[in-house]
C-alpha cells in the first residue's frame, strides 16, 4: 500500500491525526492522508564491531581506574600487593566505564555494555587460568623432558638421587598403551554392538539397558577401581597387574562409549535407512552398509574421547596396577605402571628430581591426550552424510565409474539373467 491510496472506508477516518484539527471528520468524505515529512534514514545499529567511542570510553575508564587505585594504595589505605591492585582497579574500571557510557546511552545500553565487559573478562580469566595450568606443568617438567633419555629409557636407574640425565618414562608409556589397548579391544566391539542394539532394536529390553548404561556413566572412576580390586584381586586372588587395570578402565569407559555412540547412531537421518530398506536391503546389511559408515566420524569421536578419558584417569589404575620403575610387557603378571600413576607416585616423593620427573610424565600424558584429541577433531565433527574432501573425491570417482559402466552396458537386463551376486546387493533372494 502506498500512501497515495485514497481512504474511503469510514472506519478509518475515525482515527485521524490528533494534532491535525483540519481533518474532515464527517463520515463518507474521502481524503488524502497527509504525507509525513521524510524521516532521516536511521543509521544501522552495529551490535558487533567495537566503535571508536567504545574504545575511547574503555581507555579512559581504564586509565581512571588505575589512577584511582594508585591513589588509593599510596595515599588513602595501607594496601599492597599485585593481585589486590588488579582487582580493585578492575572494579574502579567497571564503575567509571558505566558512568561514561551513561552519558550517552540509556540504562538498557549501560547494562548491555556492562554485560559485554563481564563476558569478555570472564572468558579471559578462565582461559588464562587453564593455559596457566598447562604452562605451569610444562615449565616444572622442563628440566626432565629436555633430556632425550627421558623419552627413551625406563626408570630402573633413575632413583631420587640420580641426575635427570638418567632414567625416563618409556616404561609408563608402554604400560599406558598396553592397558588402553586391552581396554579398547574389549570396549569397542562390545560398546558398538550395544549401541547398535540400543539404536536399532527399541523395546522394553533396550530401555532397561539404556537406563542401566546411563546410570553407570555416573559410576565414579575410583569405584571402578575398587570393584576390580575387590573382585579380581581380593576375591579371585590375582595379583595387581596390567590386565586388572585394563579391566577397571574398561568398566569406566564402556558406558561413556556406549552413551555417545548411541546418540550418534540416533542422529543418522531416517531417510538413509529407509532408502536402504526401499532398495530391498536386509536389516543387518542396512546397519553394516548404511548406519555404521554414515556415522563413522561420530563413532570415532566417541571412541577417541573415551580413550582420552581412559588414558588420563589415575584412580582405577591406582588400586589395580601397582607401581613399578621398569619395563613390563606382560599384562598378565607383575605390576605395570601408567603415566598418570607414575606422575602421582613421583610427585609425592620428597626429591626435586623425582618431582621434576613426575611433572615430565604429566607432560608426556598431556601430549598423548593432545594427539588423540587432534585426531578426534580431524576425523570427527562431521554429521552423517557429510564427507571430508578426500571422501568427496572418492565418492565422485565412484559415481563416475558407475556412470561409465552404465554407459557401456545397455540398460535392458534380460529377465533370465539370474540373481545378481555382487556384494551389497540383495536382489538374489527376492
Amino acid at each position: 500500500m502506498s500512501d497515495t491510496t485514497i481512504v474511503s472506508d469510514p472506519t478509518l477516518v475515525s482515527i485521524p491525526d490528533a494534532n491535525d484539527t483540519s481533518t474532515p471528520r464527517a463520515a463518507g468524505r474521502t481524503f488524502l492522508p497527509i504525507r509525513e515529512p521524510e524521516v532521516a534514514a536511521q543509521p544501522t545499529r552495529s551490535i558487533g564491531r567495537l566503535r571508536r567511542e567504545d574504545a575511547f570510553r574503555m581507555l579512559g575508564a581504564a586509565a581512571a581506574g588505575i589512577a584511582a587505585t594508585a591513589w588509593l594504595f599510596t595515599q588513602v589505605a595501607p594496601l599492597s600487593g599485585v593481585l589486590p591492585f588488579i582487582l580493585i582497579s578492575y572494579l574502579f574500571f567497571v564503575v567509571f566505564y558505566a558512568i561514561l557510557v551513561r552519558f550517552d546511552e540509556s540504562v538498557v545500553g549501560v547494562k548491555d555494555k556492562l554485560a559485554t565487559v563481564f563476558f569478555n573478562s570472564v572468558a579471559v580469566v578462565l582461559l588464562l587460568a587453564l593455559v596457566d595450568i598447562v604452562v605451569f606443568t610444562v615449565i616444572k617438567g622442563l628440566p626432565a623432558i629436555i633430556h632425550l633419555n627421558f623419552w627413551t629409557e625406563d626408570l630402573t636407574r633413575g632413583g631420587p638421587l640420580d641426575p635427570l640425565t638418567v632414567g625416563g618414562m618409556l616404561h609408563a608409556v608402554v604400560g599406558t598403551l598396553i592397558m588402553i589397548t586391552i581396554a579398547l579391544v574389549i570396549a569397542i566391539p562390545l560398546g558398538l554392538l550395544c549401541a547398535v542394539f540400543l539404536a536399532e532394536f527399541p523395546g522394553p529390553f533396550s530401555r532397561v539397558v539404556r537406563t542401566v548404561v546411563e546410570a553407570m556413566t555416573a559410576l565414579p572412576s575410583i569405584v571402578c577401581g575398587l570393584f576390580i580390586f575387590a573382585t579380581w584381586i581380593l576375591l579371585l586372588g590375582n595379583p595387581p597387574s596390567g590386565l586388572a587395570a585394563a579391566l577397571a578402565i574398561t568398566i569406566m569407559i564402556l558406558p561413556i562409549i556406549i552413551r555417545s555412540a548411541d546418540v550418534v547412531l540416533r542422529l543418522v537421518p531416517g531417510n538413509l535407512k529407509e532408502a536402504a530398506a526401499g532398495l530391498g536391503a536386509s536389516h543387518w546389511r542396512t546397519v553394516v552398509y548404511v548406519l555404521l559408515p554414515s556415522s563413522r566420524a561420530g563413532l570415532m569421536t566417541a571412541i577417541i574421547l573415551g580413550t582420552a578419558r581412559g588414558i588420563g584417569e589415575t584412580s582405577p589404575i591406582l588400586l589395580t596396577a601397582g607401581y613399578t620403575t621398569f619395563y613390563n610387557f606382560n599384562p598378565l603378571s607383575g605390576p605395570m605402571t601408567s603415566l598418570p600413576l607414575a606422575t602421582f607416585s613421583l610427585v609425592k616423593q620428597p626429591s626435586d628430581n623425582q618431582i621434576a620427573r613426575g611433572f615430565g610424565a604429566a607432560v608426556v600424558l598431556m601430549v598423548l591426550v593432545f594427539v588423540l584429541f587432534l585426531v578426534a577433531r580431524i576425523i570427527g565433527g562431521k554429521g552423517a552424510g557429510q564427507l571430508s574432501r578426500s571422501g568427496l573425491r572418492r565418492a565422485r570417482a565412484n559415481s563416475r565409474r558407475a556412470a561409465a559402466r552404465v554407459d557401456r552396458q545397455p540398460l535392458v537386463v534380460p529377465v533370465s539373467a539370474g540373481p545378481d551376486r555382487r556384494p551389497g546387493s540383495e536382489s538374489g533372494a527376492q
Binding site: L130, V209, A230
Partner: protein, 337 residues
C-alpha cells in the same frame, strides 16, 4: 532379507492390510547378536552395581543408621560412618560449582555470542581440549602452585569476613603478625578451586553447544525489535538453552563429586566435619577410598564399598536429574529421540 506378503482385502470391507515381514537367517543372527551384546553389557554393568550394593549393604547393616551420622572411620571396631567424608565431598563440590558455573556460563556465552568468528573455532577447540586434560594435571597445579598462592587470599577473606561462620578460621588471630599461615593450606577451598578448574571447561563445552543451537530467527527477531545484544541473550539464548545450562551444571557437579586424584593430592584428610572452608583439613569419599584401600581387610573393603555406593547413588541421582531436566527443555527436546 525382507519379503512382504500383502494379503488382499477380503470381500468388500476395507481392512488394514496385514504386513508379514519374513526375515532371513542373517537378520535373525544379527538380531540375536546385538541382543546378546546388549545383554552382556547389561549383565556386566548390573554385576558391578549389584556387587557394590550387596557388599556395601552388608557393611551398612553392621553400622546401622549411625553409618550416616558417624564421623570417624574405624571399621575394625565397627565404629565408622560417612558423615565427615560425605560432608567434605559435598562442600568441595559446592565450592567448585559456585566458582565454576559463572566462569563456564560466561565463557560459553562469550564464545557463542561475543567472540569474533576467526577466534571462535580456536576457543572452542581450546575449551574442549581443556575438558580432556587428565585430572592429575589439575591436581599437580593445585598441590604445587595453588596451595601456596591461595594463602594471602584466604587470609584476607578470613580477616575481613571471618564473622561469617564458613569463613572463620579457628586458631588464627589476624592481629598476631607471627601467626602461622599453614592453617590456610590443604583446605576445602583449595580442593574446590582445583575441581572448579577441572569442571568449568566441561560445563562450558556443554553450555556452548546448546547456545549455538538457539534459533537464528528468534535472535534476529529480538534484535529487530530493538533489543541490545545482552537483551537478546537474556530473552532468547538463555531461555532456549536453560536445559543445557542446567545439564552442564549437573554434569560438572557429577564430575566434582567423583573426582579423586585432584582432591587427594591437595587436601589433608581429617575425619571430622569441617565447615570452615578456609581451614586446613577436609575429606572426600573418593580420597578415603584411595587412602584406605591398601591395608583393608575384607570387612574394611566392604565398608569402603558402602562409602563408594553412597557416592554412586548421589552422582546417579544428579545425572538422572540432569537428563530429565534437559530432556524437558526446548533445546533438549530434539536431541533425544
Amino acid at each position: 532379507m525382507t519379503t512382504m506378503t500383502i494379503t488382499p482385502p477380503v470381500g468388500d470391507a476395507i481392512e488394514p492390510r496385514k504386513m508379514v515381514i519374513v526375515r532371513g537367517w542373517q537378520d535373525h543372527l544379527f538380531r540375536a547378536l546385538s541382543r546378546s551384546g546388549g545383554g552382556l553389557v547389561l549383565a556386566l554393568m548390573g554385576l558391578v552395581g549389584l556387587f557394590l550394593i550387596i557388599r556395601g549393604s552388608s557393611a551398612i547393616q553392621v553400622a546401622g543408621w549411625s553409618f550416616l551420622t558417624t564421623q570417624a572411620w574405624d571399621p575394625n571396631s565397627h565404629h565408622f560412618g560417612i558423615a565427615a567424608v560425605l560432608s567434605g565431598t559435598v562442600i568441595i563440590a559446592v565450592i567448585a560449582i559456585v566458582i565454576a558455573v559463572p566462569m563456564a556460563l560466561g565463557t560459553a556465552t562469550y564464545i557463542s555470542e561475543y567472540a569474533p568468528a576467526q577466534l571462535r573455532r580456536l576457543l572452542i577447540g581450546t575449551v574442549d581440549l581443556m575438558a580432556a586434560i587428565p585430572s592429575v594435571v589439575y591436581g599437580l597445579w593445585g598441590f604445587f602452585f595453588l596451595d601456596e598462592a591461595i594463602v594471602p587470599i584466604a587470609q584476607w577473606i578470613s580477616t575481613y569476613f571471618g564473622w561469617i561462620p564458613i569463613f572463620d578460621v579457628p586458631g588464627f588471630d589476624p592481629n598476631d603478625p607471627l601467626a602461622s599461615t599453614t592453617v590456610f593450606t590443604s583446605s576445602a577451598l583449595v580442593a574446590g578451586v582445583v575441581v572448579s578448574m577441572m569442571v568449568a571447561p566441561i560445563s562450558a563445552s556443554v553450555m556452548r553447544e546448546v547456545f549455538a543451537q538457539a534459533p537464528i530467527g528468534e535472535r534476529e527477531g529480538a534484535l529487530a525489535l530493538g533489543s541490545t545484544r545482552w537483551g537478546m541473550i537474556r530473552t532468547v539464548v538463555y531461555p532456549y538453552g536453560l536445559g543445557g545450562i542446567i545439564g552442564g551444571i549437573m554434569l560438572g557437579l557429577g564430575r566434582a563429586l567423583g573426582e579423586t586424584i585432584g582432591v587427594y593430592l591437595v587436601i589433608s584428610q581429617v575425619f571430622t566435619i569441617n565447615i570452615h572452608i578456609l581451614h586446613s583439613g577436609t575429606n572426600s569419599i573418593s580420597s578415603l577410598i584411595a587412602l584406605r584401600y591398601g591395608e583393608a581387610n575384607p570387612f574394611e573393603t566392604s565398608a569402603l564399598m558402602a562409602a563408594g555406593l553412597a557416592l554412586f547413588i548421589m552422582t546417579m541421582a544428579i545425572n538422572f536429574g540432569a537428563s530429565i531436566i534437559s530432556g524437558r527443555s526446548r533445546s533438549g527436546a530434539t536431541a533425544e529421540a
